[in-house]
Amino acid sequence: MTTQLHGAYSIPVEAIDVSDPQLYQDDTWYPYFERLRRDAPVHWCRESRYGPYWSVCKYKDIMQVEVNHQTYSSELGGIQIENPPDEFVVSNFIRVDPPKHDEQRKVVSPIVAPANLAEMEATIRERTIRVLEGLPRNETFDWVERVSIELTTMMLATLFDFPWEERRKLTYWSDVAIANVNAPDAPVHSHAERFEELRKMAERMGELYDERAKQPPKFDLLSMLAHGPATQNMPLREFMGNLALLIVGGNDTTRNSMTGGLWTLSQHPHEYQKLRDNPALITSLVPEIIRYVTPVIHMRRTATQDTELGGQQVRAGDKVVMWYVSGNRDPDAIEDPDNFIIDRPRPRQHLSFGFGIHRCVGNRLAELQLRVLWEELLPRHPVIEVLAPPRRTYSNFIHGMRSMPVRIPLH
């Protein structure tokens, strides 16, 4: 909060603390990272509510951390700046190192293999059309609720082959998994409460898992987990953790890109018009949205040994935070990064999916869903009025958008 009171440029650089979730809820983080990239690109914050940590703010330094997973562990301290109390830690493949990471990831990755995505496209398109054609005209509605959540929840239900009528439970569990328990509007208000809700999730999913284990293997995530040598008979906490990972990774980030994309286009009417005039630009629009929105704010690593990063001495055990929001706005890596340009050259060069062995396993599916959304949206609803900025999530981890009022005018 200190940073906000004093402004990004008027306080000593050592005093900057970009971990404050308020910065992301209020969308006021930009100047702090601009300052850090200029004055202290690998920055030591000595005191924060999460303890001391390094901020890695430049694209190339983030890349260095990403590809050196032996030096920067996901397992030692997890992938978020906040350490939950030990008794509530759950494990999954994004927060372990090789070899366990490799074994577990390989169990689920075939679901997003190119051939399977090609098969899913027709289903995704048919549902997208149905949702878009059902939208009201000349009436204010919540884009997040009616479009972003609806589409991504249906996708998730398909990936898990989860009972259709219960599918909103998936949305709820996703929100629980990423909630900052200190936020007044969070669905859970303590780590214990979160743990309990995720345990209930594991119970319901466990019933389905047991059914699938008895049936021949099929192509849904629960069946794959039940039959995968590296994932069958996982301890409860690992089961909980992997479910939460697949649920959050499988919908929340795409949900926020669906909302963030419309919001950003509405703020750049010239780009929006360019898109209407030339829908072929959807190919580059999609990665540009993903860069500009940056659905995951940070990922954290823990140094396994003393090392050097961007001229700074990092010590074994130090918390190292890669701020994707900052790397995606680094002018040394991306030209004119603060501008949203739907036909920029090399739009796919961004950090939003991470790099290295933990790179987002579902990145192609996310792009497919966004592409289909815009392909079907443009001819049906070329004009959508965004009536207010999105209400954002209190979180320094997930760049969430909870609601956004819009109206589709009568022609």
């Binding site: 890349m63 990403e66 590809v67 090789p98 490799d102 990831r105 390989k106 990755s109 075939p110 997003v112 293999a113 190119p114 051939a115 090609a118 796919r348 060069q349 961004h350 999916f353 790099f355 290295g356 062995i357 790179r359 396993v361 192609r364």
Partner: protein
């Protein structure tokens, strides 16, 4: 200049001259060969430049070094095969010049993902 033939997933061939010292990935990107996205720009960190090397050229390109970052990234790539490589990790060498002969051109590379 050495010549590399890129073969798209749909079979379309793109014969391209690639200067010595450049990577096979860079040769594709510089010539707008579709399907090689190279999201990480050649850091061996995304596997979006995954190709199959024509087995006849495997002894020239070699296989990824076991335990390397490339081997690690490839182990997560969809449908990796014995001749899979990340094209950002294959450099065009001076000796490769002799492949620049009519009808014997280049390593045939098949791209990974359908567009």
């Amino acid at each position: 200049m050495p010549k590399v033939t890129y073969i798209e997933y749909n079979g379309t061939e793109h014969p391209v001259e690639v200067p010595v010292g450049l990577s096979v990935m860079r040769g594709a990107v510089n010539n707008n060969v579709p399907g090689i996205d190279a999201d990480c720009g050649g850091e061996c960190a995304c596997a979006t430049c995954h190709v199959y090397v024509d087995p006849a050229w495997l002894d020239k390109t070699g296989n990824p070094v076991p335990g390397s970052q490339e081997a690690s990234m490839l182990s997560f790539a969809a449908e990796a095969e014995f001749n899979s490589r990340l094209s950002c990790q294959i450099a065009i060498a001076r000796g490769a010049r002799r492949i620049d002969r009519p009808h014997a051109a280049g390593s045939a590379l098949r791209q990974r993902e359908p567009r």
